[in-house]
Amino acid sequence: MSDNQSNLSGSEMNTSDASNDAGTDQGRVFRDDPLPNWWKLIFVVTIAFAPPYFFWFHNGAPGRTAAERYDAALAANLRLQFAEIGELSATRENVLKFLYEDSWLKVGRAVFKSNCVSCHGSEGGGLAGPNLCDDSYKNIKEIGDILKVLQNGAGGGAMPAWQGKLSPNELVLVSSYVASLRGSNPATAKPAEGQEIAAWPPKPVEQEKSAEANSQSDSSPDEG
């Protein structure tokens, strides 16, 4: 042991002289490297950072807490989602209008995928709930009824009511999407239930009418 002690680096001190009366060849090594500077620096910085950060973060200024930042992020996301259509009113006309707007059907599809697939299947072919892809419907006589079923539920709670859980925009867009599923015939579709009903009305042609349906839109110039 004592042989390689003298080779030990820098801050080790061979102090066996101090106790040479022990008369053994056992080395007594005292090694006490200084703390590395980077280590001290980072440690001090993390400590110095903590109290000011804590008091800065919790000084009551608006917009810092998780809930407030969430509100801001949610508002930003809503603007992204619905900037062009604003806040829709949940009406039959809007359901019909967006049935023919493919880009917004995608939004309806996203809402459907998040909320409806566990009963109606990812393609709308039906699981616990009925098939939405054929021409037969259980509680629907015409396109506006889709919205009503969504809002109020049906089948004694088998279909839950979504009013209040989804925004009016989402209710309209997912209704349009459900209407658009008609005739898509996915591979895993359930057999038809209910009664066959007439085809959806065609796309409303008059520009004025669609502007009316869009009455609450921010982007509508008439509304000012």
Binding site: E12, F30, D32, F43, A158
Partner: protein, 768 residues
């Protein structure tokens, strides 16, 4: 100064002389052998169960859907056994060995040590018996039933702690070696934290309720319970590191003052970090910030152990090619470096917003436990084996084989689940260009993980094989090997080195840089203080290593926990949140016993992607009637905090019966037994009584409560039947099946927040 030097020399002489005489007969190593054997056996069991759990994620029907072997029952078993039986037994073995050497005396009472050994194994046996039977507390960091924890605390403090303390008192080496600081702090801290996190009200041997519900129980579990586990995986293992690394490398600890600084920093800071895993949940936000900052401050103290270990290990006689023990220790330190850095990283709020509830948490944990704790224990055991058996290992090659198996095992277990964790986080949290969920279907995240889950099974198998090789090697050493190991003299030398590096701290030889400099005395005394010589005195009195950690617990409790536990403002009341109905209480109990919380969390965080997927974020006031709350740690299924009203009762009915029929690719097992078994309505009053004991108000006599439950069951059954469900199944009426109780609970979840309270106000107005 001079006398100090002489004193130091005398002490050194005394200690090295005593080591010269000490041979193995001076110590009691039989207890070490017993704990080591238990470690190996429980280790095999723990990893085997872990492999079973891992298989259930890729082959959900692997065990034929048997309840005892379901994921929700095996997962807590795996984690409890891996921690308390594998790693802690290993720690006990190495600790009993090192403490005797570092104190220079036999263990105080061999009988007590044996009792400790037997009792600890019995307690683990109790855990193995209860957990698969659904006897759990359902609390994230206190899953075992209360009597087991009480037994653990008793064994730890009396059978183990007292023996340790008395050994310290009778030690022949005055200064406590670094390892002993870490051991002492753990031995005093762990049982206190464990006891504090188990403040529960027992109503029977196997059933107890937390005294404080909701957010307060969560804080108790994480700020005491989780920290106690954290303490257990860090502090004593650092102590082991400080013993085995110098013994292997033959070099003294590279920096004594770094050891001092990082030890005390850990003692002071670790306890604050419990809330760093609760970011964005319904706990008070200042607590979350405090946890984050503590997590960041912990980075360097944690790495202090790494630096000291690494610098001590390197440059000695052992190296990567000539010593397999060295390999294990070096790898252990590398995994320690990664997982401790990661711990600090994950404590940052925005990082944790991304990683929380995914496989990432699991990867982090396994990185630490398999890599740092496991590899260190293996290294220590291979170093110990020739000393315990007094003969050479049967095969050195087998050690090398184990090393590579273990290394591949850790990497293959951990890296794939980091990847799957990132995939899951990404799929859950990302929005598409329209501002909608990019992956609205939760199942997608499971399907994307499957390949990685297969890979981690391979990793676990390697790890298991490695342990089998180790056990075999030890067995054959015991039975067949005869060549004496002849390590005693080398060990005595190194022990003396380890001890003298401590002893010679005696100030005299350290030059005071400012001694002759023209500065004020104050500067000199500051220089002396910062050179940490005062710590020499501390090292001679073990009491400080007990008292200061205890004091820290007290301080942390006063600053962090008391406000949460006793200030009403921490949990703002929500008028519309009402107690659970008697039937829902029973549903909660089923939820707990089935272990639903193993896969489903019940807390929605205020993050856009999360509220879009699950509904409005959770408020603290929503959980006041949850004893305990089922917040959970991981999402293998979707969050259920807002499940109420999302699906029809009929859907839940069919889903419990056969989840695969409704959700393609689901991992959830069938709970059809709930449809086939009757509710024991007679037990309803006992659940209500427990709730009353906890301060929840219920009106009515027992008969009313039972009637109330029956009425609610009838309503739900009516919904199911009117939606086309069957009236009875196998002789059990729908309205009396346990599934209905669970559905009642599920349909209640998260619905109170937006329930109008007008009727209440009207009543109040009418009363006035």
């Amino acid at each position: 100064m001079n006398s100090g030097a002489e004193l130091g020399a005398d002490m050194t002489e005394a200690s090295s002389a005593s080591f010269g005489e000490l041979d193995v007969k001076s110590f009691d190593d039989s207890i070490v052998r017993m704990f080591a054997a238990a470690t190996l056996l429980w280790g095999l069991f723990a990893i085997l169960v872990g492999l079973g759990v891992a298989h259930l994620l890729v082959i959900p029907k692997m065990f034929g859907g048997s309840e005892v072997y379901s994921f929700a029952r095996l997962r807590p078993l795996h984690s409890s056994v891996a921690l308390y039986a594998f790693l802690v037994n290993g720690m006990f073995a190495a600790l009993y060995y090192s403490v005797q050497r570092l104190c220079g005396v036999r263990i105080w009472s061999a009988a007590l040590a044996w009792l400790h050994f037997v009792a600890w194994q019995v307690v683990i046996g109790m855990a193995v018996y209860t957990l698969p039977r659904g006897l759990m507390q359902g609390r994230d960091h206190a899953e075992l039933v209360q009597p087991i924890y009480l037994a653990m605390i008793f064994i730890w403090t009396v059978l183990f702690g007292l023996n340790y303390w008395m050994t310290l008192r009778r030690r022949r080496i005055q200064r406590l070696n670094v390892s002993l600081w870490f051991y002492s702090a753990t031995i005093v801290t762990f049982p206190v934290l464990m006891a504090a996190s188990n403040v529960v009200l027992p109503v029977s041997w196997v059933k107890s309720y937390p005294l404080l519900g909701g957010v307060q129980d969560i804080v108790l579990q994480w700020c005491y319970g989780q920290v106690s586990v954290y303490y257990l995986l860090l502090m004593p293992f650092l102590g082991l590191m400080y013993f085995f690394v110098p013994m292997v490398s033959g070099k003294p600890i590279s920096s004594h003052r770094l050891a001092i600084v990082h030890f005390w920093a850990l003692v002071i800071l670790l306890l604050w970090s419990g809330s760093r895993n609760l970011h964005h949940t319904a706990i008070p936000e200042w607590l979350s910030t405090a946890g984050m900052l503590a997590g960041l401050m912990l980075w360097m103290p944690l790495w202090g152990g790494l630096l000291n270990g690494w610098r001590t290990l390197r440059g000695g006689e052992a190296n990567f090619s000539n010593s397999t023990v060295y390999r294990f220790l070096a790898c252990s330190l590398v995994f320690y470096a990664i997982s401790t850095f990661e711990a600090s990283l994950l404590s940052i709020k925005s990082v944790s917003a991304w990683t929380q509830y995914s496989d990432w948490t699991i990867a982090h944990l396994h990185n630490g436990m398999m890599g740092w704790n496991g590899m260190l224990a293996f290294g220590a055991f291979y170093w110990l084996a020739p000393r315990l058996f007094q003969k050479k290992l049967w095969s050195d090659r087998a050690v090398s084989v184990h090393f590579w198996f273990a290394l591949i095992g850790v990497l293959l277990s951990v890296l794939p689940i980091y990847v799957s964790g990132m995939k899951q986080s990404n799929m859950w949290n990302s929005l598409d260009e329209l501002g909608y969920l990019a992956h609205p279907d939760f199942i997608d995240s499971l399907n994307a993980s499957r390949g990685m889950w297969w890979a981690r099974i391979l990793g676990g198998s390697f790890y298991l094989l490695g342990l089998v090789v180790m056990a075999g090697n030890f067995l054959l050493t015991w039975l067949l090997s005869s060549e004496p190991s002849g390590l005693a003299s080398e060990d005595a030398e190194r022990l003396a080195m380890l001890q003298s590096s401590n002893d010679l701290q005696d100030g005299a030889e350290i030059p005071c840089l400012l001694e002759s400099a023209p500065v004020l005395d104050a500067a000199r005394s500051f220089e002396r203080t910062s050179a940490l010589r005062w710590h020499q005195i501390w090292e001679s009195s073990p009491g400080r290593f007990y008292v200061i950690p205890l004091l820290m617990i007290l301080i942390v409790s006063i600053v962090q926990l008391v406000p949460v536990l006793f200030l009403q403002s921490s949990v703002p009341k929500i008028a519309s949140v009402k107690p659970y109905t008697p039937l829902e209480l029973m549903g909660r109990e089923i939820y707990l016993q089935k272990g639903c919380y193993s896969c489903h969390t019940q807390v929605v965080r205020p993050l856009v992607a999360e509220t879009m997927r699950y509904g409005d974020f959770s408020r603290a006031g929503e959980f006041v009637y949850d004893f305990p709350p089922f917040w959970g740690k991981r999402r293998i299924g979707p969050d259920l905090a807002r499940e109420g009203g999302k699906q029809s009762s009929k859907w839940h009915w069919r889903h419990l019966d056969n989840p695969g029929l409704l959700v393609e690719g689901t991992l959830m097992p069938s709970y059809s037994d709930l449809l086939d078994s009757r509710i024991d309505f007679e037990r309803i009053p006992s659940y209500v009584d427990s709730a009353k004991l906890l301060g929840v108000e219920y009106e009515g006599e027992n008969e009313d409560l039972v009637q109330n439950a029956k009425d609610q069951a009838e309503r739900i059954a009516a919904e199911i039947v009117s939606a086309g469900g069957s009236i009875q199944r196998g002789g059990v009426m729908t309205l009396e099946s346990q599934a209905v109780a669970l559905i009642a609970y599920l349909q209640r979840l998260g619905t109170d927040l937006n329930t109008p309270v007008a009727t209440d106000d009207a009543q109040v107005a009418a009363a006035q």
